[in-house]
Structures are given as structure tokens and as C-alpha cells.
Symmetry: D2
């Protein structure tokens, strides 16, 4: 079994390889009657698009999305929405090295171990290019829950973190790092440039917040909101850690410190803290949903690394293709998309079981 679908009621399936003719997603289960066109999807893809600064891969992909089905007269029909993005700037010859030897940390060896062979061109199916499909599908999910605002940003690169006191939402889209701290953004220019020139790469931490999620979304026990979000984000290329709310920091706290006390509020409770990241017992409490995602450094680096080839012989590999010096940066729109998909799915699940209303 290969599992290329995600979601329960709102469910999408992605397909396509880095160097094939196209990639895409089929989104099934979308409510009918929602206004949707390519113009609602393209801006999110543009945020993720490669080649927009020297801090991302230099592959030039317009990433133009086409809606092939499921929309009629400008509105969703309730039937599958097929989204396709053509691959334009493949350079498969760059990958002759990769065909022969395994890039440590990359999926090369594991795919061979699993399937017996692999499409090595650009990493094939394991390429971060697949995440464009997620972003396109995520744009549909956003349209299902317009009352929810989902916002991600980079919180640290290579161990250099933002200053929370300097957080400025309006800065996020003004620099190539999705960095909410202008000073940190300036530092990162040098940091990432240095890594890029050295043929190296850097890890990053992405944070995400979703506001407007009503209390009640989430589905105990094996689709707890924490669990669904963790699965969604841990499935993104290069992700190796997920925290909800305080995450690992909560493990160092006492019960009193970690409590989110409640007071009577205007509508429902007013919480005096949000250590839990807006989720209790797997169900949204109405507070902002907060999570953090750890991206490892890009595995494809120019620096030669000891490895073996498909025959099991010792080799060295330096990956020449065009790669992101810090794959976490372009992870920002992907995290947002996955969070949108989880929340929209849970919104429909909640409505299905309980009859709760949902406005769109």
C-alpha cells in the first residue's frame, strides 16, 4: 500500500513526480456551492513557488494551477476537484549522480529498499515539489472554512531564532524568509547566503497559528486534533518534529504552571493562558490553535558525503541539482495548507456527527 490520500470527509489525493509532465491533487468531499476559481488557489501557490529569491531553489516553475473538474458556473459542485500543475523546468540530466549513488538523509536508499527501484529524476515522488499539490488542495480547504485564519511563519533558521517581542505580522510577507522579526530577517540573509555558498543547507522551525476555530472541532480518540495536525505536518518533506502549544516545554512544567485557567467570557470561556495550543482532549477549545514544526536541513547538498551506490559499494556524493538551501522556508505555505486541510476536514466531521452549523 502506498498512501497518497489525506483526510476523512474532505479528502485529497496527490500524484506526480518532480520531473514528470505534471503533478496534481484531486480534492473530494468539498461542500457544494462554494465560490472557487483558479484565482483563489494561485496566490497560495505563488507564495510557495521556487525561484523567487536566491534563498530558494533556482528551478523556475510558474506553478500555474488548472481546475479540471468539480467547479461549474464558478462554484464547487460537491464532486471531485481535480487540480493540475504542469512541470516546466525539469533538468533531468542534473541527476546522473543521484541515479548511481544514494544521497544520505534523502529517500533514495529507502525507496530502493521498498520498491526495488526508483524514479531518481529530481527525487521523483519524494521531491518537495509534491508539496505544491498540497498547497493547491489547501486553498480549497480554506474556502470551506473562511472564518478561520491560518498563518505560519519561520521562527528559527539554523538555530537562530526570532525575538518574540519583535513579532510583527505585517513583516511576514515582506521578506523572503516569512520572518515576522525584521532584525532576524536581516541576519538570516547572511546566514542562508553563507550556507548556500558553502554548498551546505540549514534546518528551520516553522510556527503556525489558526484563529477562528470554534470549540468542538476535533474527534477523539484516534483523530484528536493534535494527532491529525501532527500527522499532517510530520508528513511534509523534511519534517522531524511537531509540537502542539507548549509541546516539549510543557514536559518541564508543573500542573499549575501548565493550566490554562478559565474565566467567564463574552462568548464561552475566557482563557487566561494557552499552553495547550487551543486543544484539550483532542478537541478545540475555541482558543487559537498553535503548533510548531521542525524542518531538518535539506539533504541534497553540494558538500560531498560518504555513501554507497546501488551495488552496495562505497561512493561519495555531492548533489548538483538545484535545491533549497533551507527547505523549511518554503515549508511555510505547506504547513498552512496542511493545517487548513485538517481543520476543514474536522469541521465537516463535526457537522456530520453533531449537526453543528458551519458558515461559508
Amino acid at each position: 500500500m502506498s498512501v497518497n490520500s489525506f483526510g476523512r470527509l474532505l479528502r485529497f489525493t496527490t500524484w506526480g513526480e518532480s520531473h514528470g509532465p505534471a503533478i496534481g491533487a484531486v480534492v473530494d468531499g468539498c461542500p457544494p456551492g462554494i465560490a472557487l476559481s483558479e484565482a483563489d488557489i494561485q496566490p497560495w501557490l505563488d507564495r510557495r513557488r521556487p525561484g523567487t529569491s536566491r534563498f530558494t531553489t533556482q528551478r523556475r516553475e510558474p506553478d500555474l494551477v488548472r481546475i479540471l473538474s468539480g467547479v461549474f458556473d464558478g462554484r464547487t459542485t460537491g464532486t471531485p476537484i481535480s487540480l493540475m500543475i504542469e512541470n516546466v523546468d525539469q533538468r533531468s540530466k542534473d541527476y546522473s549522480e543521484v541515479a548511481k549513488a544514494y544521497r544520505p538523509g534523502h529517500a533514495d536508499y529507502a525507496y530502493d529498499a521498498k520498491y526495488g527501484f526508483r524514479d531518481y529524476r529530481g527525487g521523483g515522488r519524494s521531491s518537495a515539489r509534491e508539496t505544491a499539490s498540497r498547497v493547491a488542495a489547501g486553498a480549497v480547504a480554506r474556502a470551506v472554512i473562511p472564518g478561520v485564519r491560518i498563518r505560519a511563519w519561520v521562527e528559527a533558521i539554523g538555530g537562530d531564532a526570532i525575538d518574540p517581542a519583535a513579532f510583527d505580522d505585517s513583516a511576514i510577507d515582506e521578506n523572503p524568509f516569512f520572518c515576522p522579526d525584521r532584525t532576524a530577517a536581516a541576519r538570516w540573509e547572511q546566514l542562508v547566503d553563507r550556507a548556500r555558498k558553502a554548498g551546505s543547507s540549514l534546518g528551520a522551525v516553522v510556527a503556525c497559528e489558526a484563529t477562528g476555530v470554534p470549540a468542538g472541532w476535533g474527534a477523539p480518540l484516534y483523530a484528536k486534533l493534535d494527532s491529525e495536525l501532527a500527522a499532517a505536518c510530520m508528513g511534509i518533506n523534511a519534517v522531524k518534529g511537531v509540537e502542539i502549544g507548549d509541546g516539549f516545554a510543557a514536559a518541564a512544567l508543573s500542573g499549575e504552571q501548565n493550566a490554562d485557567p478559565m474565566r467567564p467570557g463574552e462568548e464561552g470561556p475566557a482563557f487566561l493562558a494557552n499552553h495547550a495550543g487551543g486543544i484539550a482532549g483532542g478537541i478545540a477549545t475555541g482558543q487559537p490553535i498553535r503548533l510548531r514544526v521542525a524542518f531538518k536541513p535539506t539533504s541534497s547538498i553540494l558538500t560531498p558525503v560518504p555513501t554507497i551506490n546501488a551495488l552496495g559499494e562505497a561512493a561519495e556524493i555531492a548533489t548538483k541539482g538545484r535545491h533549497d538551501p533551507c527547505v523549511g522556508i518554503r515549508g511555510v505555505p505547506v504547513v498552512e495548507a496542511m493545517v487548513a486541510l485538517v481543520l476543514a476536514d474536522q469541521a465537516l466531521l463535526h457537522r456530520g456527527q453533531t449537526g453543528a452549523t458551519l458558515t461559508y
Copy 2:
């Protein structure tokens, strides 16, 4: 939708509340012909059983498991295995407070917000008692993959971590904390005692390692091994963070530092490091699978916390029932069980798609 099932080919469904007559799990999809009896399951439940030391809840539950179906002549038949554990030591009167006001950090308010009301006795379905069902199901999963050894331990309590240099596997089962560092275990006695007596609670970090997992298990892209493990562990009560391999630490590394270089080995590659936690591209590499799980401190504490009641009025709550001062401790066998369930499921999925052999 309420999602009380987990797994794809090997799939279990749990049921039952803390203060109902019983709890249980139905395990479906188990291969036929595997030797199985209550004696194979009970020891794992005994490790998780409450009331065995003063560092866990004082509720006295024998947690005796009965196999009600799916086993004939001492072997699994391939049909559903129904496991039941009777509840013996309920004291519902302890929960009169909980019935009236919401415990901050607990599922009380969220369940009411979702379902309109809740079984408040002992936390009902949201009680950590449910995890006994997971441990029972996990014992079946272990029998499916006998070549895999799964071992978890507590790595830190309330911010006080073990010394990795003092790690001694044989120590883990010799103290009430599943602590592999004897010196740390001695410190934790005092630490947890202090919290217990103060009516407080502590968070913890649990680490887990699975050895003997062959390269190839795992299912890209939306059932990546990282993703499945994250979903499995993040769905455990009180868990707020999951890391695979170096996790968040990897986000601070460069590509060279984070690489797991490969050399020719006896069988398959010899890896010179394991930053990736044994998983690349969502697929096992043959190295040990390594993960860490953050448990928040128990939400039910004796210290009074500001809250509201079901009418939305200001209140204070001090939870009097019998609770774990550090729920992460008993999380150790639960993490092991969930990891076993993921790996056994992936073993069958891998065999289904590729025809890989599996010995049991």
C-alpha cells in the same frame, strides 16, 4: 464522526469509559496462525497497571484481560480479536466536583462544547484509563512482528533529564519511573513525591527505540512512518509533542551535520549516524527507529485553579480523585504499544504492496 479506530491493515477499535463496566479493544486484520493467549498480553498491561507504586494513581485495578474472540486452539484465526478488561475500582462519587465545573487543561469543557454533555465520571472516555486498551492491542501487534524489539523509557521528568552516559537498559524495569539512569531515578523519587504531596503534577519526556525494523517499511506520502508514529503518539492522553530522530535539534543543524553517511555493511548499508531516527522519505532505512514524546503534566491537580462551570459562571476547582502525579510515567508502555501497532500495520502494508516476506 468520532474516530476510535487506528491502523490500516492491522486495525484496532477501542471502547469504554473510566467508570463504566469495562473497557476493551477489537483488533482486526491480525495474520492467522500466530500463537496468542492472555498470558502474552497480561505482562504488558501489568507494566501499565495503576496502583503499583506511590508515584502513580492509587486506583486499584487488576486490569485482567480476556480474549473473547479470534483465537482458537491457541492461535489467531485471522478474525477479530476482542479484548476486554473489566473496571473494578470505580469511585464515581469522587467526581461530584468535576460534574459541576471544568478542569482547565482537561477535556471537560471541550467535550461539552462538542457533544452538549459528557460522562464526567473519572473523565469518561477521555480518561487515561482508555490507554489500557491500547496496551492490550499493542501486545497483539508485537506478536505480529516478533523480530522487532520496542523499548521505551522516561528521559526527563519536570525538566530533570537523565544523563545519556549513564543509560543502562537493565535499569529501566527496576524502578517505578522506567528510568534507565539509576541516579536520575533516585532524584525523581524526591521530585515526584514533592509534587504529589503539594497536590501538583509534573510533565515528562518519553523516548522510544525500535530495533529490527527492516528497510522498506513505511508508506509514502501520507502514511510516512514519521507521520504514522506522530499520529499514534500524539493521540495518547497528555501528549503535546513528538520528535523523530533528532527532531527539533535537527532544525538547528547544517546539512553536513545532519547527514547520516553510509558505508558498505554486512547486510545493506552501515550508517555512520542516525540523526534521521531510522526513517528517510517516510520509509525505514534499517537503522533503529528513534522517537521522543512530550507529556504535559496531569491536568487533574489538587491545587485550586480558576475555572467556570457549565453555566459559564466563575468557579474554582481542585480535583480530588486519584490521579497520576506524572502521567508520562505510565505513558511508557502506551508509547511502546502505539509504536508496535504502527510498525505491525506497516509490515502488513509493505507485504501487501510489495510481497516482502515477514516471519512470525
Copy 3:
């Protein structure tokens, strides 16, 4: 994979063997707040209970259901409802013959071929006894859609059909055959008695009608209402055919004959015919849902049949246990239960995707 779950949003999992300690079902996804007690389930089980007349198996089972979870203060909580029925009247010694040789038409050989061995006592998991779990789960489903009336009956036994003109709903529960035609019921007494005494068995056709299903339930394309109902009924023991509406008869009609013309009605259209059985394009039209189900004759007969044993040697088998001379009769409450489960599930799915209201 063994698939012992059915349903999408309202989903149940059954477990248990004919001669094990108990059988049961776990119903997940039920909406919260619905009044439910054993008294709501027991009457449906009583209709299916064996040993109530000489025309069914003489096994004496009280079939008393217990609700073990998911209900609090008399209402469903939205968490899994565990239903258990103890087996009381097992006589495993009757099955020494079955242990040795395969009953043609029964699952004996197929289970051995699949799993390598089998629980032969009373047919183990393949026994019609499992259908008690379905009936219990079906009673929960009925509570989810109280506005829908589901009614099944036997239309023919051994080729002897009722006279549609003599159809009397009130007759159905007044004879041991669920026969709506009193004259046919009298004939069937003799027919079934003769088969029973001859050590033979008879096939039957069960018809079912569901009224009160609103237009819109159903989910194209791979969960069309026709398709879900067919899967649900074809999965019942001994069923070998399913028709929706006119079924095979429609294949002999012309387009004009088969049309269900529409006229303006009080609420929605008034249909002038119902060849389609209330379903168009896989979606309910608001007309009564109509289907027919073919039960083959019970495979376990006293008449000796040539067969082979587990060693592949020629043998003869005459099944001595206690069996239904016409398993289709007790299929009536089972068909009703499966139809209820499909419709309740589709009701929740429809609400989840479209926000349609549902009253219970």
C-alpha cells in the same frame, strides 16, 4: 486484511464466534444526545432470535444485549457504543464431523484455504450467529434516523412467492415467516416442515422498503446508495443477489416503461412510478427505497453430500448441528438492520458535506 467494520461516519465493528464466550459490536460515530437503552435494542434482537418456532434453528439463545459503553444518563455520548451478547447454548460436540470434512457451500474449505485452519465449532466466525451483532448495531442506527421506517418481509420461499395483491403489513409479524400474505404463510408451514423433516433446506427472497428517506441522501459515485445497500446486503450470510427497485426486471424494459415520470407535488415532486426503487444517480429521490435480497438455501443439511476432508480425501458429510431449514427467514431483521446502518451513515455523510438538517 480482514474487514469486520462497516460504515463511513456511523461505523460498526463486529467480533465473536458462534461457540466462543460472546459476540458483539462496537458502534462508533453515533451522534450525541440520542435516548438509548438496552430496551431500544432488545426487541430487534428478539425478532431475530433462534428457537422461537420449529422453522428456525433449535439452538436456544436468549440473545440478551448489554450496552458496555457510550451511553450516559440514558443518552448516547458520541463515543463508541459497545454492545455484547453472551453465547449460552453452544454444543460444540455436534461439530466433530465438520472439523474433519468440508461442508460444500459452506465457508469451511474457503477459510482453510485462506487462513490455514479455522474455528470449526458452529462455523466459528462464518456462522449466521454473527448477524445478531448486526441487528444490535442496526437498532442504534434506527435511533439516529427516527423519521425513517424500515420494513422487510419474506417474499418467496423455495420458489413459492406471495401474491402481491394479498400484501398485508399487519400480517408480517403474526407468522413465523415474516410473511405479509396469510395464505402464503399457511403454504410455507408445510413447505418448510417438509424440507426440515427431509433433512433439506430452502432458499428465500427477502424484500425491504424504507420510507421517510429525504431526497439527497447518498454519495456518488463509489458510495451510491444502490452500491452501499448492495454491499450491505450481499455481505449477509447466504445472500447471493441484490436488486434495487425493479432490478433484473428493469433490464427487460424499454426506457419509456422504466421511466418514473414526475409531476408537481406537495413537497417536492410527485412520482408516477418507482421502478428505480427510490434512487437515481445513487442519490435518494424521496420515494420509498425498495430492494430485494436472494438467500440461498442453508448449506448445512442432514442429507449426505460428497465432499473432501482437510487431507484432500473423498468423504461424505451430513451436518448434524442445529440449523435453520430456511436461513432467509431470520434474514429479515438482518436486512432491516443493514439497511438502517447504510441510511443512518448516509444521513450523517450528507449532513457533513452539505449541512442538511437531520432531526432525532
Copy 4:
């Protein structure tokens, strides 16, 4: 929820409308290393293609399939196989009538009742055109189980059945009706011509046989082979009945008549009959799988039928578009495809749970 996916381990998702730019299917879970190219899929699509005789719709569609992903160096990679077929010969203006009033028997009214509006052009998603995607996906499934031969044919049109004694496999592909009886084929020319000229349509019965299915495939209880096949076929446009083996005829038999006696055979048992259609207890017995499928007459007819419009007013409708006079004829390759998908899926499931080998 809209359910546009089918299958468990081998799973496909279809998308697209009759008059959109394209239709397609994404096949996930295919084993790796299987030789596959467009040339393996196209012949099956050609059998289903419209416009090849005057007995099918006159819409001219080349139905050329493109593989967009999942195949590398001529072999499946184990990742999703995206198949796309462009729509070429849409004539949406034909559907102005349909936009205004509901075609009785068609999905028009039901889609409006469910979704609030619909893509009326050519029936949109409910068009039989969608079945091209199934046929393409089915060709992939065939490649997974090359040892299985799946063969369907038309057994009756408008009530006029073939003579079983005249069955000639080689005749099936020599006439436009997939008719194995040359005399019947000649009669059907006139029969269908007459219906076509009269602006009418005819129903049909399609039979299907799969040989080479080993004993053991199938998955009790809720994925019984009978049940999966019924769901698969009942989900095809215009299908209203499914029989496995003797189906409804078995309901008129006695236990002795319906038994399939077994004798020692070369490999496994030799069966003396096949009333069960090769399936016992939901599991394949090794005999040929046999089933029959009832197609109602095409709902879109030129003859005017009383109906209502979207405002609920009385109207009349005569459907002018280009339609099949007997949609069952082109159902033949679709039934084969769905049977192939069920069997390939079950083959993988069986291998996953039991480790049974599978050669391809």
C-alpha cells in the same frame, strides 16, 4: 462526503465531468515493478469507446489515455498512477433542455436535491462518460493479477436472452453487442435499431466470469468477495441488480440442489457444480467467479416524458443529446474493469494479511 474512490489497498479515485476539459483516475497502491504503458490501457478503452457502431452514442471521443505519473522506465514505481483522458467532442448546447427540466430516471433531480445545483452539461459527473476512468484504472488492475482472466458479455437485451448452448467465446468481440451467441447478435441488431429509431432505449443483462482466482482471496465479513463485487458493479451507471453465481435462482432451490459437491482434484478440490459462483463465506474457492449485472434502459430518451422543472412546475422532456440506445452494451468493459479492480485489491489484501504469494 462525496465518495469518488474505490478499493482498499489498490485504490483509485476518479474525477471529471462529461463536458469538462478532461476526466481521469489516480490509481494508488499498485505494486512496483510491473511493466505498464499507455499501450496496456488503450485497448480496453477502445472496447468501451463511443461512436464505434450505430448501437452506441454517436459522440466521437478518441479516449486517448495519458499516464502522467507513477511509471518510470516502463515499470510501475509503486507511487500513484495518474491517468488522464481529454474530452474532445462536447456539444454542451444540446443540453439546454436538461438545464431546465429533470429527466425522469436520471440523476438530475437527485443532484439538485443533494447539492442545490448541478453541472447539467451532458449529465456532468453522473454521465456514463465517467466509466472511461474506471476502464483505464481497471487496465492497471489487470496488470497486477495477470494470472486472472476476466471476461464479460451481454446475456440479454430488452428481455431477449442468448441461448447458453450457443455460447461461443470467440463471438463476443466480433459483434457490436459483446454477444457470445451469433444468432442472438443478429436478432439484437434489429431490436436495438428499432429502439433507437423509436427514440426509445433498452435494458440489458451483462454476465462476467473470472478464472484463475486462487482459493483464499476475499475478506470476511464486510469485504466478502460477493459484497465487494456487488458494490463495485452496483456503482456503475444504470445498474440496478447484481447476482453472484445462481443469485436469485438459488433462492428457489433446496439445499441439495444448490450444493457444490467436492471431490479430490489435481490441485485442491474438484467441484461438481458452481452454484455459488466461486465464492463461499465471502472467500474464493478456486472455481470461476461468476456474476450477473442488470442494466436498466438508458434514461435519456427522445420520447417525451412528463416531468417537472427546477421551479417545481409541470413540464415535458425529450432528451436530444447523443445517447446509447442500450447503455448495458458498453457496460461490458466497465463490469470487467470493476471486477479486475476488486480482485487485484483482494489479492493484495490477502497477501498483506496472510503472506500468500502473488506472481506478476
